[in-house]
Symmetry: C2
Subunit: 574 residues, 2 copies
């Protein structure tokens, strides 16, 4: 729906005033439209136009290498002959004027009258009509002009910028039109400024094949298609209309009509490009985007211009306008990375050689993760139940996915790597597969713990592990932005780390300190799980990043307890 306007009747003039303010450094307004500032040498004036509502057609493509002027009519309405005459006269640089526009009755008449008036004043004036829409008629003379406007204007704009004379520019424009074919589809209608209802509509779940850019009748309504099938429809129908004697090279436009977004067009292009190539086409500098729109209409069109050598060069030429800018130089100056650079970018970081202590730690890490996987699987349902009180109930599932990915990843690692490396690998796998913010935090915390411990120390005394636990918690605090009391896993983790540090500082061994601290965490988690959700506005990060507060503390306590059991049994085994 069109939402921004003052008096809807003045929409076309009002938007033009804004356009002229914005681009005052390169165009000037004249009665009826827009004229480009002049280049170094006089050139044939290519004056395009038609109704408003099609931006960037028409004034958005005025500038070096494209149109010299644009006549701007009311929305979807031909400009008057007086407007076309005025713009043509202002655009003329002494080398003649070519009017070019899509084949609609009003435009044909008004530009025709303007041309007569200019000729009567001695200004050589020609007319090149665009007739690209294969859906509108079987005969070229009766076809409408739609997105193929752009290919024709582009060719003439480039030819005029090269300094060619009016006969040549006219001839090339007609050649471009003869080589251009478009088929469009509409998904939804467009709404005129000030109106509540669209100008026309497409039946729900359908697309209008061949619908015109002002809602003119199409060929038929067909049920909406997946992108792959839509691409096939467009490509095959346009190719059916290949001009006689056409070569392999084609300039291509996949044009969006307004509401259809660039991402949708790219998705469609993914199917269109290979289908065209399979049909033997060589795609020359394709354009995917909005070139001829129809207010907020939903839909798109595919345009092919078959290129001979002349058209090929003009299609590739540089242009610089408000809406369409093309310059070969910046792209030509780029290069793909060298083999060395690629190797750098893709270098897989390999495990450092682990010392004896590091390799011993690897055994503990494997045992601990196995125990964690086991306890998490046992409690998956209960964690989901707690989470569902205030969240979406997927915490158990997420934890299972994370820890399963972690144990699978370390199972792939060789026996000679250290525990620090295993923790880093486990963390990366956990983050990638668990999904959600708590999965990312668990993964990052494990990774930072592993990096902190490393694999090259001579030994891993309890104080080193306690410092690692602090690092683990700090990573979660830093990335998650939550604070104690926000009802997150920190409410179990931080008391655990505090107690572990205190016990180890007092001389306790690791298993003993860990087990005691895990007991504290379990108590806190129970309190947290039972508390009602905190009232009031949480900080945005805490709110978003730790959306499953109750269950998060509980799963943390379960993990810590399971690891404690492993550490204890490990000491007993040692």
């Amino acid at each position: 729906m069109t939402r921004i306007f003052d008096d809807p009747a003045d929409f076309a003039d009002d938007q033009l005033a804004g356009f002229l303010d914005l681009y005052a450094d390169r165009v000037r307004g004249v009665h009826g439209g827009v004229v480009s500032h002049r280049g170094e040498r006089p050139q044939v004036a290519v004056v395009i136009g038609g109704g408003s509502g099609h931006y960037p057609a028409f004034c958005g493509t005025v500038g070096p290498g494209l149109a010299t002027g644009a006549v701007v009519g009311n929305i979807f309405t031909s400009p008057s002959a007086a407007q076309a005459y005025s713009v043509g006269k202002a655009a003329n640089q002494g080398r003649g004027v070519i009017f070019s526009f899509g084949n609609y009755a009003g435009d044909t008449i008004n530009f025709g009258i303007a041309a007569e008036r200019l000729r009567a004043e001695g200004i050589d004036t020609r007319i090149v009509v665009v007739t690209d829409d294969v859906a509108s008629s079987d005969t070229e003379e009766e076809r409408r002009g739609i997105a193929g406007d752009f290919t024709v204007f582009k060719v003439m704009g480039a030819a005029a910028a090269e300094g060619l004379g009016i006969d040549e520019v006219e001839r090339l424009g007609n050649a471009a039109n003869a080589a251009t074919r478009t088929l469009g589809v509409a998904f939804s209608g467009c709404t005129m400024p000030g109106e509540e209802e669209p100008l026309f509509s497409v039946p729900e779940g359908h697309l209008g094949l061949g619908l015109g850019i002002h809602g003119e009748p199409g060929i038929r309504d067909v049920p909406m298609l997946p992108a792959r099938d839509l691409a096939a429809l467009l490509v095959d129908d346009v190719l059916k209309n290949t001009p006689a004697g056409a070569g392999r090279n084609v300039g291509v436009i996949l044009n969006g009509l307004g509401t259809t977004k660039y991402e949708e067009l790219f998705l469609l292009w993914r199917h269109i490009a290979p289908r065209l190539r399979d049909a033997g086409c060589e795609l020359v500098e394709p354009e995917v985007g909005e070139l001829v729109t129809s207010l907020d209409m939903g839909g798109c069109s595919l345009t092919l211009m078959w290129l001979d050598d002349e058209l090929d060069a003009l299609w590739r030429a540089d242009a610089y306008t408000p809406a369409y800018r093309k310059a070969g130089a910046p792209v030509a100056a780029l290069r793909e990375p060298t083999a060395d650079e690629l190797a750098d970018a893709e270098a897989v970081v390999t495990a450092p050689v682990a010392g004896e202590a590091g390799r011993r730690m690897a055994g503990t890490v494997r045992a601990a993760l196995a125990a964690v996987e086991s306890v998490i699987r046992e409690n998956e349902h209960e964690l989901g139940r707690i989470d569902a009180v205030a969240g979406d109930g997927d915490h158990g599932r997420g934890m299972v996915k994370g820890v399963t990915a972690a144990t699978a990843r370390i199972a792939e690692c060789g026996d000679d790597v250290g525990g620090g490396w295993l923790l880093q690998q486990a963390g990366q796998a956990w983050a990638e597969r668990a999904g959600g913010t708590s999965g990312v935090l668990w993964g990052a915390a494990l990774e930072s713990l592993g990096r902190h411990l490393g694999d090259t120390a001579d030994s891993y005394p309890a104080s080193t592990v306690a410092a690692g636990a602090r690092e683990f918690a700090a990573t979660i605090q830093l990335l998650g932005g939550a604070e104690p009391g926000d009802k997150t896993l920190l409410d179990a983790l931080l008391p655990f780390v505090d107690e572990l540090e205190r016990r180890v500082g007092d001389g306790a061994d690791l298993a003993e300190g860990w087990t005691a601290a895990a007991g504290i965490a379990t108590g806190r988690a129970r309190e947290t799980a039972e508390l009602r959700p905190r009232i009031g506005r949480a900080r945005p990060l805490a709110e978003k990043s730790l959306g499953t507060p109750d269950a998060g503390a509980t799963s943390m306590a379960l993990v810590l307890t399971a690891v404690g059991t492993v550490l204890t049994s490990g000491e007993e085994n040692a």
Copy 2:
């Protein structure tokens, strides 16, 4: 609504595949996103990113002078740390990596983890977070990043392209963010691929002030405003947030969110630009268009970046990416027309000096047009009634408007001009004011008749006038594209011309021949008005250009008869 997709779950990957195919000459795909091909010299890698659905953010602005790489997450979802790490590593050219993104929890966490991983591999990695949305929080740290992403990325991209070191690029990025403020409004929600209902909605007839680009809560809903008031709201609220110590120069973005069209944005710009200037701002190379979108969301935002000398130069710098291309040179090479050129373009065509016969004809033309105005006014209602049978009933009104404008225009012409000139003036006025295709045809036909007769002949014998009538009819045939029998004014006009030529050829004087021929026209018009509309498909031009066929022939006959009366009484007076 998002319409083009295959499996909605794969939308982000599928669209990226199309993008990579399209721009294979300048970017390459890597795990997690896109990396620019390399320039001549290694530069600091500016790696931007976030979820999909915001095109051209983020991959559309990768290229010389802007981002070095973009991480591409799922729709409205942060990319994973593994994706960000992969793109950062591939983008690194040995001079370090700066991750930059809008301030959202998921992005902060994932880019943070990726940065840690890169640093662990010895790659200097920095983070610049964008926090421009003044509606989202009172404190900078908690503000979201929206369209201000672009100003920050642009500044860093230009700084990196200049070859500055990572400390400098980071400093300038943070300075750009500190100098940037945005306020957005939403008119309508956006729809995820495969969904029928929008993700959120704005109450009918309202706009959501400060709504986030994923539908996050705004400040409040306010009733929809005319463009002038909407501009005032945006400008005043952004200016209220002017940073301390800001100067006069501002880079400006008026950003469209998806469904809001360029023409609407230009219309809004018409009010925004003067209001900013009135507030003392110097507008530096403003951008109006889509830079950060939100699928098919309706709405827009205003971003200001207050520029010191450093930021000013970087904002103005050239850039060349798929979606954003800027080059000063083509515009700098343009010039406004000289005074002579302007005089040529604006030269008013003056009446040629009329001979005696031409001046005598002027009297007949004035009398004839007065008689035509009188008979058309008398028959306005009847013409409307006939037209309403198959058309929109406005033919009488249109004829009155046309002839009234014509008589008013010739009343302004001096007594020394000829009848040929008066007919040309009358025709131009008629076409401009009557509206509709029949008005344009009447105007063009009168103009060509006047041009045919001219004002310099020694006499105007009946044969000259008959040839002029043929010219009058030929103009309508040529411009309108209709044929006899299409139920248009030609069905009265052509028999008239045939009969006039025949009578004059047989030696009749003008008044006699004209009156007899007008009688034939009246008879044919009556038949035409009584016939049922022709069944079958009319040619498009005939159908469109002559939409009021019955009434058109009738008004033609009325005019011809009235002119005949004037000619007869003129001969009697002579």
